[in-house]
Symmetry: C2
Subunit: 187 residues, 2 copies
């Protein structure tokens, strides 16, 4: 429970002055639709609409009583959801359908020519790092490359292979052994 879309609905339910007032009134005592309409100076149909939105997320519930439909606040639902907001699971579920590579792809797209080579090497850190994360994929994990082989791969992206190589190592995406030894891709 407490799914992603439900969370938005929950906040939307409380994101209206009149609905907040209804919650506040029901916190004191149960009320019928007619009474709430009088207290808030709204038409019953409008109040009914508000109540159904609150009921949708379980904040209120109705009980037939004589002619009236008496609504009451469900405190436990309010507590449960407000407590859950801070939880890391909630946060994670909200973000779960966000594509975390979208930024890198956009940057690479901006800096790439149709043939896959780079127009320029980005000057700004954030964009340089995005490009580097893309470039490093050209190396097999677990394989060791000589400096000559590294340059050969990097030349597909940009003629300034020395800069690319230095930045890849500096950003910890690749490592080199000792002074003039082999290179490998990290992770």
């Amino acid at each position: 429970m407490s799914e992603n879309p439900e969370l938005v609905t929950f906040f939307k339910a409380l994101a209206d002055a009149n609905r907040l007032k209804i919650v506040g009134l029901l916190a004191q005592q149960p009320y019928s639709v007619e009474e709430l309409a009088a207290l808030l100076d709204l038409k019953p149909s409008t109040v009914s609409h508000h109540l159904s939105r609150l009921a949708e997320v379980g904040l209120v519930s109705a009980r037939a009583e004589g002619y009236y439909n008496v609504y009451r606040l469900d405190r436990s639902a309010l507590e449960a959801t407000t407590r859950g907001i801070l939880s890391s699971e909630q946060m994670a579920s909200v973000v779960e359908d966000v594509d975390l590579d979208a930024y890198d792809r956009r940057v690479v797209e901006d800096y790439s020519r149709p043939d896959g080579s780079l127009k320029t090497i980005p000057a700004q850190r954030k964009k340089l790092e995005a490009v580097l994360r893309y470039v490093v994929k050209a190396f097999e994990p677990g394989t060791r490359y000589s400096e000559k082989q590294v340059n050969e791969v990097l030349s597909r992206f940009h003629e300034d292979t020395a800069s690319l190589r230095r930045e890849l190592v500096g950003s910890k995406l690749m490592s080199r052994e000792g002074g003039g030894g082999d290179y490998w891709r990290n992770e």
Copy 2:
């Protein structure tokens, strides 16, 4: 702090799927506007708008960093407000400008003729009680009335003074002493 209108603004700030995603993303790490725009597939101007609404309620704050404006989540603001929602002060402040007599007035209005007399005595409890709360105001607190005097006052409202008298006593708005003694208004 945590005033009534601010509470609505707070909920409105979180009552949008993309703004919730922004909060979720910033819960993991700070991001620039440009990055968020790429991740959410929105234009920077739109993201900027969302961030300003979140900043308005103190949920996020910005820090200039190189070319970028890096936003971060203010966890304490989130915690403080979500904790406060359940408090009775919050609830009370939301309702403070609601006129709690509005329902009674509307019912009395419905049942009254221009001269102040009642068209009928309401059959339904809730409305009868509203009318009784209105009628009882015709009696002075702290004064004792004979049954004859009570009937005289009540006859201004309705010819069935016996019913009105009985209901007033039954609803504890008035009391009578012993068997056939005097009446007085309670509270």
